[in-house]
Homo-oligomer: 137 residues x 2
């Protein structure tokens, strides 16, 4: 079960130095929490769909609900979560509430993540192709 206090890992000063270096690289606690909460908010397929949809044009709860295929209540709940992280903002016009992306970073974030995801998919496809080549011989 790992190790106790006076241990090999702690004796080597280089590792201690590594830990200290890494610790200095960490953002302040509240930034870490904010970061994680922002990512967690993005970490839901429904909310990803909402943000991709809003990257084109503003939409009302009603339209989003149809697009997503979930209830308007559920849509409203998700929009509140996105609002709480300042990922979307809304504009009221009469009874309607039109939602849009809150700031420009969000689109770049999504695109950067999309690039990462696609890179993984590409690597997987290349691996699969190599396997098929070998299998074909």
């Amino acid at each position: 079960m790992g190790h106790k206090d006076a241990d090999v890992c702690e004796i080597y000063y280089v590792n201690e130095a590594h830990v200290r270096n890494a610790r200095q690289a960490l953002s302040p606690e509240r930034e870490i929490l904010s970061l994680a909460e922002t990512f967690r908010t993005l970490g839901d397929p429904t909310r990803v769909r909402i943000l991709q949809a809003l990257s084109v044009e503003e939409l009302c709860v009603c339209d989003l609900s149809k697009l997503l295929g979930i209830s308007e209540s559920g849509t409203s709940h998700q929009l509140r979560v996105l609002r709480s992280q300042k990922l979307v903002r809304y504009r009221k016009e009469g009874k309607m509430a039109f939602y849009s992306l809150d700031d420009a970073h969000i689109d770049s974030l999504m695109n950067e993540a999309l690039r990462h995801v696609r890179e993984g998919a590409d690597q997987a496809r290349e691996r699969a192709e190599r396997i098929h080549e070998r299998a074909g011989q």
Copy 2:
């Protein structure tokens, strides 16, 4: 409770068009799911700390465990999650396993998100905490 089939929202052709436009903007389903899963993986304070630490230099499970203040088992669990999303990779040297960031997008992703957070998500976090407090009671 919203509205039924033949409804105002559907009668105005513009809204129908909006829904169609937005739907076309959506990534394929598998990409949406991959995106969400990647973000969800990033959406945990412990894993954010791991990635920030690894952005400086590679570290072993032992060092990370000390840095994070959690058990080595827990650290290993989290690293497995990060590996499954190709966010970190590892190199074995004897008994030790040295982990590092897997690709360059990850650092940009984190920095972009950090910029968003610093722009004023602190107030948002407080609001979210209030919501969670109320939800927890």
